[in-house]
């Protein structure tokens, strides 16, 4: 497969880890194969392979991150930091080379690190959480491949490998969400996730194809890259060449894929249902892999969206509109959930909305930074929810029925949950404050005041629903399983982690201990993530001044014009050396939708809002108001059972209508199932039945009647007279002919030979005469 490697000639340092970043997805992939082949025979049932392979990936990703920081240091302040690209020719077809390779830049490095880090912790957590599960080995195999898919997508040099990683993740999410498929609800949720995401995936295929056919000629002549290359497409999008309609179509198609994968309105409905999977899966799926893929796609091909959707233009674009709707509706839905994981799921949808809003408003760096911080605290929250259900609420996730008052029993889980909740709400100085506030700040700074207000409203709602969830889980009186009531909750079995062998294995534990803190394999990952939920915001702490903006320095691609030297490589020429050379000058003109002719740009010029405490105080005040208001209402409603609030949704017409709208998830599921699926399957089935009864049966009866009548005629006239006559006549003729030629068959070989040669001689004579 490896035919030739092309290298970037660059004075910047690229160490071993940067050169070998492609190993990060390869190692877990090999691990997956090993688990499938040998997992069941290993002493730990294959889980050790999964943990070790992801640990190796984590080491590689950390090394790559470290060396990337050095490389940025080499480049100084203004110079373009060229990505470390290595490609191998995968196959050739019709003069088009399909390559496979790595593209390592700041974005790659940061997401690579986050994915490897959280995958490793989640695998460690799963060692304890799924102990005794009946498909333990399969679980670790799928989890490992899932991470490998995301890692492959992140390091991908071109859209082909990107698509491959994207689809691997779709498949693995299906396997993992439906891990306990014996329960019909779980397999339905898995199918729903798969099909909803597939709907969006069509957009990815269309988008990649459109980009290839539009950009291939330009990228080949100017950069010596194919139209699948991410660098090539980025430079093309900013070159001023593309037809505005074509690139608009490509951007919309790609954004549809991002909507499906990242759970944006209106395709967000699969994400809450994906809670049917085991909690470690939810944690991984909602923090660093899968749902981030859509945001990553937009961030990766940002120039295409920048030009295609006219980001930073005078009017709002489709990304921002969708993101704003998502932020608000998802946050509102989180209020009516009683399942703790569903609250977190809607919270994820809402936070992904923030990332998309940032990208849509030109705030590329804050959005990527929010991916970074959100991954830590959201993974922590999910793992805390799993810890609660594992050790305190007897595998139930129902906050209203089976939780409450757990803060005394589970100090570590409670502390981690509180820290992560504060980070999610955006309270200073936790990590979420820095990233979310930066997004809101930049959206306003780029002139989109309305969307800034939506962002602030979302922050208020986030603070309120998280306070409600915290109160229900950890405060108030213990209820249900948390109070030591060990009954089988058949009524909401669908919301539970139903896995018999596991529950059976822990029956003894739970019976004597009641709610208690989880084991070290569960609390250690939670504690590590909680520490990061506090401190990860410091990587780009804009309030503390320019010197704290490490993320901006390391991750953001610099919008400088790069001189390009094109080498036209024919199909036979494997070496393609493109030199986005660093030292050859950049000009003052910024990279925008029109790039100056002397070079190419790989990133558009965006502005950064300057941090002001006055603006930050507004958002902090909003968050504080949300927390206090929600706390007072929760304490009154769930704690004291205040008669003015209890049953309000039954008494007040307006409240009832609002509650029913939310409880039915805006009727979107009904719309999809009855409206879309039903409108296709129902009439299709009725139509098929009608067709069967009327058309097919009618034809059959008609044909039968006609054929019986015809058969009569045929028998009397044709069969008896014509056919029999013909048969008899031919028999007579044959007999006469046989008698005539009988003497030739003398039975003597010599005669036969003579006849054969005589015929051959006559034939030869005829040929000779004909040819002369």
């Amino acid at each position: 497969m490896i035919l030739a490697a092309s290298e970037i000639l660059s004075p910047l340092r690229d160490g071993w880890f940067l050169q070998h970043a492609w190993l990060t997805p390869v190692i877990p992939t090999v691990g997956f194969v090993l688990i499938v082949l040998f997992g069941k025979r290993m002493p730990k049932k294959g889980s050790e392979i999964g943990v070790l392979s992801l640990l190796a990936s984590l080491v590689l990703a950390s090394g790559a991150a470290w060396q990337w920081i050095q490389r940025v240091g080499d480049a100084g302040e203004e110079q373009f930091v060229s990505p470390v690209v290595r490609t191998w020719t995968w196959w050739q077809s019709g003069g088009v080379e399909f390559t496979i390779g790595q593209h390592v830049d700041g974005l790659t490095v940061v997401v690579l690190f986050v994915v490897a880090f959280i995958s490793t912790l989640v695998q460690v957590y799963s060692l304890e959480y799924l102990r005794g599960d009946r498909r333990y080995t399969h679980f670790f195999a799928a989890l490992t491949l899932f991470s490998a898919g995301m890692l492959a997508m992140v390091v991908a040099e071109d859209m082909i490998l990107f698509l491959l990683g994207w689809e691997i993740m779709g498949l693995c999410s299906f396997m993992l969400i439906g891990h306990w498929w014996e329960d019909g609800a779980n397999s339905r949720a898995a199918l729903k996730a798969f099909f909803t995401v597939r709907t969006g995936d069509v957009g990815l295929l269309v988008g990649i194809s459109v980009l290839f056919f539009a950009a291939n000629e330009w990228t080949t002549t100017h950069l010596g890259l194919s139209g699948f290359s991410i660098r090539g497409v980025s430079a093309w999008a900013l070159s001023g060449e593309p037809n505005s309609t074509v690139i608009l179509v490509a951007a919309i198609a790609l954004f549809v894929a991002a909507i499906g994968k990242s759970g944006q309105f209106p395709l967000h409905t699969w994400l809450p249902d994906a809670m049917a999977g085991p909690t470690p899966v939810s944690s991984l799926l909602h923090s660093s892999t899968m749902v981030v893929a859509g945001v990553f796609l937009v961030a990766r091909l940002y120039p295409v969206f920048f030009t295609g959707l006219d980001i930073l233009g005078p009017s709002s674009n489709v990304i921002m509109v969708i993101a704003a709707i998502t932020i608000v509706i998802a946050a509102a839905l989180a209020f009516v959930q009683s399942d703790i994981k569903r609250v977190l799921a809607y919270s994820t949808v809402s936070q992904l909305g923030y990332m998309m809003l940032g990208l849509g408003a030109g705030a590329w760096l804050p959005a990527v930074f929010h991916i970074f911080t959100h991954a830590f605290f959201k993974a922590c929250l999910f793992l805390c929810a799993g810890s609660v259900s594992h050790s305190a609420s007897h595998h139930s996730f129902d906050m209203k029925e089976d939780m409450g008052g757990l803060r005394k029993h589970m100090p570590v889980t409670f502390a981690a949950w509180t820290v992560s909740t504060l980070a999610l709400c955006g309270v200073f100085p936790f990590s979420g404050f820095f990233s979310k506030d930066e997004i809101i700040d930049n959206v306003g700074g780029n002139g989109y005041t309305f969307f800034m207000v939506v962002g602030l409203g979302g922050a208020f709602l986030t603070a309120a629903y998280m306070t409600r969830a915290t109160y229900l889980t950890f405060f108030g009186a213990a209820r249900g399983a948390a109070a030591g009531v060990h009954e089988v909750h058949d009524a909401h079995a669908g919301a539970h982690d139903v896995h018999d062998t596991h529950a059976g294995a822990h029956e003894a534990d739970d019976a004597h201990a009641g709610p208690h803190e989880s084991g070290i394999l569960i609390t250690a990952p939670i504690a590590i993530l909680a520490v990061l939920a506090i401190f990860s915001g410091l990587f780009n702490a804009t309030p503390f001044g320019e010197s704290w903006e490490y993320m901006k320095k390391w991750v953001e691609p610099r919008a400088v014009v790069v001189a390009s030297e094109s080498h036209s490589g024919g199909p036979g020429e494997a070496f393609v050396v493109s030199v986005p050379s660093a030292e050859s000058g950049h000009s003052e003109s910024p990279c925008g939708k029109e790039t100056p002719p002397e070079g190419v740009c790989y990133a558009p010029q965006v502005s950064h809002a300057t941090f002001k405490w006055s603006k930050a105080l507004i958002s902090l005040a909003v968050v504080f108001a949300g927390i206090v208001l929600s706390w007072v209402l929760s304490a009154a409603l769930y704690g004291r059972r205040d008669p003015r609030l209890v049953g309000l949704t039954q008494r007040n017409g307006l409240a009832r209508a609002g509650y029913r709208l939310l409880a039915n998830k805006y009727y979107l599921d009904d719309l999809y199932e009855r409206g879309v699926v039903g409108s296709i399957t129902g009439p299709l089935a009725r139509g098929a039945y009608w067709f069967n009864q009327r058309i097919l049966d009618g034809i059959l009866h008609g044909v039968a009647g006609i054929s019986r009548a015809v058969a009569q005629v045929v028998y009397r006239d044709i069969d008896q007279r014509l056919v029999d006559g013909a048969v008899n006549a031919s028999a007579d003729v044959t007999k006469a002919a046989g008698t005539t030629v009988q003497p030739i068959q003398s039975g003597r070989v010599g005669h036969y030979g003579a006849l054969l040669f005589a015929t051959a001689a006559v034939a030869a004579l005829v040929f000779v005469i004909l040819n002369t």
Binding site: Q745, G747, R748, G753
Partner: protein, 99 residues
């Protein structure tokens, strides 16, 4: 021209072979005549191969030699069986296929 002499030799051998197949009553002699025919074909192929300077003819000739060897093997086995059953290899007596 050398080629025409080769072709002439092939034609003569062919005629001798045909005569043998038709006129001889001994099965072994008929087999030998068939070998003559095959070899006359070989000579023709080689003659044309030499003239055109291509290796195709040589290849065909080699194939024919191999096939002829197999054919003689089968033919002699049949003759042997016929002799065992009838104590004679006269082809005139084998006329049971007469119509």
């Amino acid at each position: 021209m050398l080629t025409s002499q080769f072709l002439l030799l092939g034609a003569i051998l062919f005629c001798i072979g045909v005569y043998g197949v038709i006129a001889r009553k001994n099965a072994v002699l008929v087999l030998m005549s068939i070998e003559l025919i095959l070899n006359s074909v070989n000579i023709n192929l080689l003659a044309f191969a030499l003239r055109n300077g291509s290796a195709d003819g040589h290849t065909f000739a080699l194939y024919i030699i191999a096939v002829a060897a197999a054919e003689v093997g089968v033919g002699l086995a049949m003759v042997l069986l016929i002799y065992r059953n009838r104590r004679s290899i006269g082809l005139d007596e084998l006329s049971e296929l007469r119509g």
